[in-house]
Structure formats: structure tokens, C-alpha cells
């Protein structure tokens, strides 16, 4: 079957699963099916969603980024440090947060491309380095006392949470970029066959650097949004966020081997994880069991998908 049809089928299948889960939850609980709860789900998935979009770029190049969670914390701390009331304009802490994330991403990218170190190792290193830096800069304590202008980022516009708008904007831009930009096409080529891409004149190193840089930028954004939401820069925030993000991307049909995947798929993957989390919460399942159920669903979804792809 042509790839296009398979992608469609895949996305359709995933959408169907989400709808079925939604239907079951609507019948099971009387709280799921409401605008307030949907807004709630959207708000809850937005940070994971922004991270998942970012890491989609990296996974498409056949790389990986394990440092997302730590960089979220570091960016949040950096942002909060410049967000005390009356010190700077609100744009300064935002810019600092984004730049911190981008810098981490670029360092990852340089070490992968110029240093030739495996992405797994590089980003594993960055995971502990960024966490350490977050603890150093904050003195190990949450950075509190943030201006209202910044914490307003976690509020609503016309009833829609701003984090949700951020997520939607990021997803749209990423979708547009991968589809309509030359560099977007190059990302698929590099992930599909790096040596062939190089032989075809694709600037492989630059493309990979861009992917890690973009991932870093979005991680910084997630850090700023999280800091605004919890009104502090938490050096211990974001533990294991990278795993939820990567799980969402893989459920969405992106291959860990690179070269295959879409933003639409990532979006659906994020949504599925969000709906399941929400449903388990509403049903009052203990968080111990939630962890087990979520793990089973992640492996099961990918297993089903790969089985379907093989036949």
C-alpha cells in the first residue's frame, strides 16, 4: 500500500481509538463529556504537546533527545529569575527562557554533528547537566515571586487557555514547516538515509543542528509556560517529561529509525495520552495503577501499529 494511504489509515485508526476511549469515558463517567473537562484536557496536554512537536524534528532525523525534562526545568528557572515584579519587561524572562532552551538544543546538535557522539549519549549528558545547572542557579530552591504579567501566560484569552493556544500555534507552524520548507524535506531525507542525503547534496550537519535547535527552542517555550503555570521556577520540575513526549510521537506513527512521521500523528498521540490520563483521573484510578496502565497502552498502541504496517 502506498505510504500516503498507510499514513491516512494510521491516523484514522488512531482517531478512532481516541473516539472510542472518549465514548467509553462518556458512558462510564458523567464528568468527561463537558466543555470544562475538554478545556482541562487541552490545558493538561499543552506542555507535553509542545515538547512532542519539538522532539518530532529530532526523531525524524533518526536522533533522540533525552534532555527535554531537565531543559524544561532549567529554562523555567532561568525565566523565573528574570521575572520578579518591576525588574524587567515581561519579554525579557520569556526571551531568556527561550534562549536557554535553544542554547541547550544547539549544544546537543553541535556535539552530535561535529563531535560525532551518539545522540543518546549526548542528550543523556545534557539531561544531568541541565538538571545540575537548574539546581545551581536556583540554589536548589524554587524561584518564586514572579510578576503577574508573566504568570498571566497561564491564563485564558476568550476562554481558551494561552498554553493551549501556544501548543496549537507551535503545531501549525511545525506542520507547515515540514510540509512547505526545503529544510523540512531535508529533515525527512536525512532521517531516511543520511549517507544518501549527503551524496545528494543535502547539508546533513546543518539540518541536524536545526532539528536539535528547534527542539531546544520549543523545550524552552515549554519551560516558560510551565513556570507561568506553577508560578515558580522549579529546579525539580519536568522529571521524565521526555518519555511522555517521545511516547506521544511514537504512538503518532513516527519511526525511531527516522525518516517517517508527521505532526498530525504527533498531535493525535499527544491527545490519546491526554485523554487516557484524564479518564483514569476521572475514574479515580490510583496513580500507581495509572502508571502501569499507561505503559501497557503505549507499548500496545505501537505494537498494534507495527503489526498493521507489516501485513
Amino acid at each position: 500500500m502506498p505510504a500516503l494511504d498507510r499514513n491516512l489509515l494510521h491516523r484514522f485508526g488512531l482517531l478512532l481509538v481516541i473516539l472510542l476511549v472518549g465514548l467509553a469515558l462518556s458512558l462510564w463517567t458523567d464528568t468527561f463529556l463537558s466543555l470544562a473537562n475538554f478545556t482541562n484536557v487541552a490545558r493538561q496536554v499543552s506542555i507535553n504537546g509542545i515538547l512532542a512537536v519539538g522532539v518530532t524534528f529530532v526523531l525524524l532525523t533518526a536522533g533522540v533527545d533525552l534532555s527535554l525534562g531537565s531543559v524544561v526545568a532549567l529554562s523555567g528557572v532561568a525565566c523565573a529569575t528574570f521575572a520578579h515584579p518591576g525588574e524587567y519587561s515581561v519579554f525579557v524572562p520569556i526571551a531568556v527562557g527561550l534562549l536557554t532552551g535553544t542554547a541547550c538544543g544547539l549544544v546537543n546538535g553541535v556535539l552530535v554533528t561535529r563531535g560525532g557522539v551518539a545522540p543518546f549519549i549526548v542528550t543523556l549528558g545534557m539531561m544531568t547537566i541541565a538538571r545540575g545547572l537548574a539546581l545551581i542557579f536556583s540554589g536548589g530552591r524554587p524561584v518564586a515571586n514572579m510578576s503577574n504579567e508573566l504568570t498571566a501566560l497561564a491564563g485564558d484569552i476568550w476562554g481558551i487557555p494561552i498554553p493551549v493556544l501556544c501548543f496549537a500555534g507551535v503545531a501549525f507552524v511545525a506542520w507547515y514547516f515540514l510540509r512547505n520548507f526545503r529544510l523540512g524535506r531535508h529533515i525527512y531525507a536525512v532521517g531516511g538515509n543520511e549517507n544518501a542525503a549527503r551524496a545528494a547534496g543535502v547539508p546533513v550537519e546543518r539540518v541536524k543542528l536545526l532539528a536539535y535547535g528547534l527542539c531546544g527552542l520549543l523545550t524552552g517555550l515549554a519551560g516558560v509556560v510551565l513556570a507561568a503555570r506553577i508560578t515558580t521556577g522549579q529546579p525539580n520540575a519536568g522529571q521524565a517529561y521526555e518519555l511522555d513526549a517521545i511516547a506521544a510521537v511514537v504512538i503518532g506513527g513516527t519511526s525511531l529509525a527516522g525518516g517517517v512521521g508527521t505532526i498530525t500523528g504527533t498531535l493525535l498521540g499527544v491527545l490519546l495520552i491526554g485523554v487516557i490520563n484524564n479518564g483514569l483521573d476521572l475514574m479515580g484510578v490510583s496513580s500507581y495503577y495509572q502508571a502501569v496502565i499507561k505503559g501497557v497502552i503505549i507499548v500496545g498502541a505501537v505494537w498494534l501499529d507495527r503489526r498493521q504496517a507489516r501485513s
Binding site: 502506498p2 531516511g192 542525503a197
Partner: protein
């Protein structure tokens, strides 16, 4: 005796082999001939237990054979040498050759001594000079193929299925393989053989079976066949001379290479290619042909020497440099350095020249689709659509798509490294015609090929490499295979 009885194989609604019956006798070399997609490889893979037949059955030693896996076929005495090489790169040559049949002591530990001994014994039979303790990763494509052959021969099988075993071999290695096949034959081993090289069939085969579109056209003793008759059976129509007429080149020198060196592969290599000229790099495997071509394209830059294009010295560090200078290349390693398997045919074709279909960073999807349509028609690339993953196409169509990719950027110099390896005679003829068309259009073509008839009929001049140095530059019209070989062979 091995017998295929009305074997049928379908792939997703497409019948690639329909009730084919062939019998293979002990001690014969039985050639399976046919164009790509005719069903030769499929028939072999069914016989070797790689595919289960969807109809018919296999008779082996008078009984009904139903192989569930290649391993079962191996145990029953049927081994296969695959067209796609499947080496394990981080094991040694000896470990690859004895894979799955490692000599062990009583505790089950591998006997390294015996392993090395067994490997060098088999390589010796093939007259191959490869150290069995080397890592697979360090071998050339040709050496890898020799190792794959040794691996199959080491199983002491009664039937050996060889799917294009000589695709990457030099004439010297082919000769050694043929001598070994003769010895196997004398022992009563059945050899089933496919190739796209006409001369091999008549040197080797006792009987020939021709397949077309999954059907057996006929089986006949090789002595009752000739190349013209065979081609007619394969193609189903008369094929006029596959080599088109050469036009004389211009006097304008486009490429001038002087003193190109990268030890230990090649040294002090100098030659010129004029506009409208086809120059072939000939030589034995390992003489440095691919390496010199790769240096000009920037895949593996030379350490010293000069490359001039249109009289201007250019510095080439990577393919981006050579592409922007007007040099294009289709590499020998289609899978490793050519295809982006998951991308569609269309996106593969436009990859190199993508800049031509974008304004700044923005892709112009309409212009891209138009260019893809034009290239697919021009190169008669067959696919179910432009978004069909290129990995699903036949070898000939993949190769044509890569040519289309290379030429879409309108390069002045086109380097073709083994452009017809492993593709059928119809696609070959198309590529031959294309090469002459490029020359007539005033482009310069640098051709690397192991097939001497191809070199002699396509090129204007032949630069012969011997162990990394130019040993002769010959005019194609006044030379012959023997002369080229004499200059290519180590003294």
C-alpha cells in the same frame, strides 16, 4: 533431483510467479533468464524456503518438500547466494562464512582455529586473497560478494541457487568462481544461476530456462540457444542492437584531473574529459576506479592533485561543492548512497535540485509536481504514483529515478558508477541510449563499469587503472577486451 511443480506466488494480489514447472538435474548448471520482475528471484526464493508457495509444490529427492524456512532448506541440502548482500559488518570474514555452522568443541565453545582454517580453505578454493580475520566492514563490495559465495559453498549443499553472483565481481574473480562451479558440477552438485550478463550464460550453462512475467517461456539446452534467440524469448520481441551509435566529441575540455592522489587507493591520476565525450574508467576491482570518481564528486576528497572544470581550478570537499560546480553523480551503491527508501519516487527525484523548485525556503509544490511528472515520463519510470516509496520499485526503475535525480540539476559533467549493475536488459538499453543522448547534448560523461563490452561500446576513450595508477589511455574504437585487460592486470 529438484523439481518445481506448478509453483505459484502472489504478493498482495499481484501474481509474480504463475504455475511454473522446471526440473533441475544433478550436476548441471541451469540458468534462469528473464528481465527484472520476470520471477527468477521469486522462484529461487521459493526453492530456498524464503517464501512459501501459494500454489504447486516442490519435489526434492523423490519426496514432497515443504520448507518453512531457509534453515530447513539448508538442512535438506539447498543453499542460496542472495542478490542483496547480507553481511554482518562487525563480525570477521571467518565468522560470517561459518555463521550458523560454527565449528565447536565439546563444551560448545567456538573453535577459532578451525573457523579460520575452514574460511581460508573456502576462500582459497575461490582463489580469493582475503584475510579471514578481517572485519567484514573493511571489505569492498566485490570482496563482500566473494565472502557471501564462500558462505553458501561451505554448506556442502547439493543444490546451490546463485542469484546474480557476479554482479559486483571483476573478470578475474568471475573466472575463479567459474572454475569452482566446474568442480562442483563434477561432484554432482546442481547449480541454479541467474545473471544479466549474456556471455556468462553461454560460458556456463548446460540448460537455460526463460521466464517472462512470471511464466515459463521454455527450457532448452544451451547448445541449442544463441544470444539473439535468448533475448527474443526474454523480451518477447526482437531487440535491435542495444548499443546506440557514438557521435564524435567536441574539442572543448570540460574536466581536467591532474595528479589526483589519495594513498593507498590511487596516486597521480590524470585525465581529461571533453564536452560530448564519454570516458570510461576501467580496471579490476580494487584498482581505484570508484575512489577516483568519488573524489571528483566530493564523497571522499583526494588528498592532493587538481580538478579543473572549464579551465578553472575548483576545490571539492563535499557533494555540495561539486553539485554547485556542475558535477552530478549516480553512485554504485544504490541502497547505501542513493535511495531515501521511505520517501516517494517524486521526492527522491527532486532531492538534489530542490532549490529549483523553491522560492527561498518555500517549496513550490506545483512546479515540483510538474518536474516530477516530466522526469518520470522522460525516463519511463513505472510506479503506482509519485508518492509510492521508492523502496517498493524494481531495481531498474530505482536506477532510472536516481538518474533522473542527478540530471534534474542539469550538471555539465555526469559521473556514472556501474549504472547498469543488476538491472534488466530493457532498462540497460534505455540507460545506454541516455548516455549517448547526454554526450550528443554536449555533456561530459565519466563512466565506471566492470563490464568490458559496455565500456568498449559506450566510451570514446578508456582510462585503465591498475592498482591505483593510470596504466593506459586507449581509444575505444581501436582497442579490444584483451588489450584493456592486459593493461588492467597487475604485472
Amino acid at each position: 533431483m529438484l523439481r518445481a511443480l506448478e509453483l505459484r506466488k502472489d504478493f498482495g494480489g499481484l501474481t509474480v510467479l504463475q504455475s511454473t514447472s522446471v526440473d533441475f538435474r544433478p550436476g548441471e548448471v541451469h540458468a534462469l533468464m528473464g528481465e527484472n520482475g520476470a520471477g527468477k528471484s521469486t522462484l529461487m526464493k521459493v526453492l530456498a524456503g524464503l517464501y512459501r508457495p501459494d500454489g504447486g509444490h516442490i519435489e526434492w529427492r523423490g519426496g514432497h518438500a515443504d520448507f518453512a524456512s531457509p534453515h530447513e532448506a539448508l538442512v535438506a541440502g539447498i543453499a542460496m547466494i542472495h542478490q542483496e548482500l547480507m553481511p554482518i559488518l562487525d563480525l570477521t570474514v571467518a565468522e560470517n562464512i561459518t555463521l550458523g555452522a560454527e565449528p565447536c568443541d565439546r563444551l560448545g565453545r567456538i573453535d577459532k582455529e578451525a573457523q579460520l582454517h575452514r574460511a581460508s580453505e573456502l576462500l582459497g578454493e575461490l582463489e580469493a586473497d582475503i584475510d579471514p580475520s578481517r572485519l567484514m566492514r573493511t571489505l569492498t563490495v566485490a570482496q563482500t560478494q566473494v565472502v557471501e559465495i564462500a558462505k553458501a559453498l561451505g554448506r556442502n549443499a547439493d543444490v546451490i541457487l546463485m542469484d546474480e553472483p557476479t554482479a559486483a565481481l571483476s573478470d578475474h574473480e568471475v573466472a575463479a568462481l567459474f572454475r569452482f562451479i566446474a568442480r562442483l558440477k563434477a561432484r554432482g552438485v546442481t547449480i541454479v544461476y541467474t545473471t544479466h550478463k549474456m556471455d556468462e550464460v553461454f560460458r556456463l550453462a548446460d540448460r537455460i530456462s526463460v521466464l517472462r512475467d512470471g511464466n515459463l517461456v521454455g527450457t532448452a539446452p544451451a547448445s541449442e540457444m544463441n544470444p539473439a534467440k535468448l533475448i527474443t524469448m526474454m523480451v518477447g520481441r526482437e531487440l535491435a542492437d542495444v548499443f546506440p551509435v557514438r557521435q564524435p566529441p567536441t574539442d572543448e575540455i570540460l574536466l581536467e584531473v591532474s595528479g589526483l592522489t589519495r594513498e593507498p587507493s590511487y596516486r597521480n591520476v590524470s585525465f581529461q574529459v571533453r564536452r560530448g565525450e564519454v570516458v570510461a574508467l576501467a580496471g579490476l576491482m580494487g584498482a581505484g576506479r570508484t575512489e577516483v570518481a568519488s573524489a571528483i564528486y566530493g564523497l571522499q576528497p583526494a588528498s592532493s592533485g587538481q580538478i579543473r572544470l572549464n579551465g578553472r581550478a575548483i576545490s571539492i570537499r563535499n557533494p555540495q561543492d561539486s553539485l554547485s560546480a556542475g558535477i552530478g553523480m549516480v553512485t554504485e551503491d544504490r541502497k547505501g548512497l542513493g535511495l531515501i527508501p521511505a520517501l516517494g519516487v517524486g521526492q527522491n527525484i527532486t532531492l538534489t535540485a530542490l532549490r529549483n523548485f523553491s522560492k527561498g525556503q518555500f517549496l513550490d509544490h506545483t512546479a515540483e509536481a510538474a518536474a516530477v511528472g516530466a522526469q518520470m515520463a522522460e525516463f519511463s519510470i513505472k510506479s503506482s504514483g509519485t508518492s509510492q516509496p521508492i523502496s517498493q520499485l524494481s531495481g531498474g526503475n530505482q536506477q532510472k529515478a536516481l538518474l533522473a535525480r542527478c540530471l534534474l540539476g542539469a550538471p555539465q559533467l555526469i559521473i556514472l558508477d556501474e549504472p547498469t549493475r543488476g538491472i534488466d536488459i530493457g532498462a540497460k538499453a534505455e540507460i545506454y541510449a541516455l548516455i549517448q543522448k547526454l554526450a550528443r547534448a554536449g555533456k561530459a560523461v565519466l563512466l565506471v563499469s566492470s563490464e568490458l563490452p559496455e565500456v568498449l561500446s559506450l566510451a570514446h576513450r578508456i582510462v585503465v587503472l591498475r592498482r591505483g595508477s593510470v596504466s593506459a589511455t586507449l581509444e575505444a574504437t581501436t582497442t579490444d577486451q584483451e588489450t584493456v585487460l592486459r593493461h588492467a592486470m597487475p604485472l
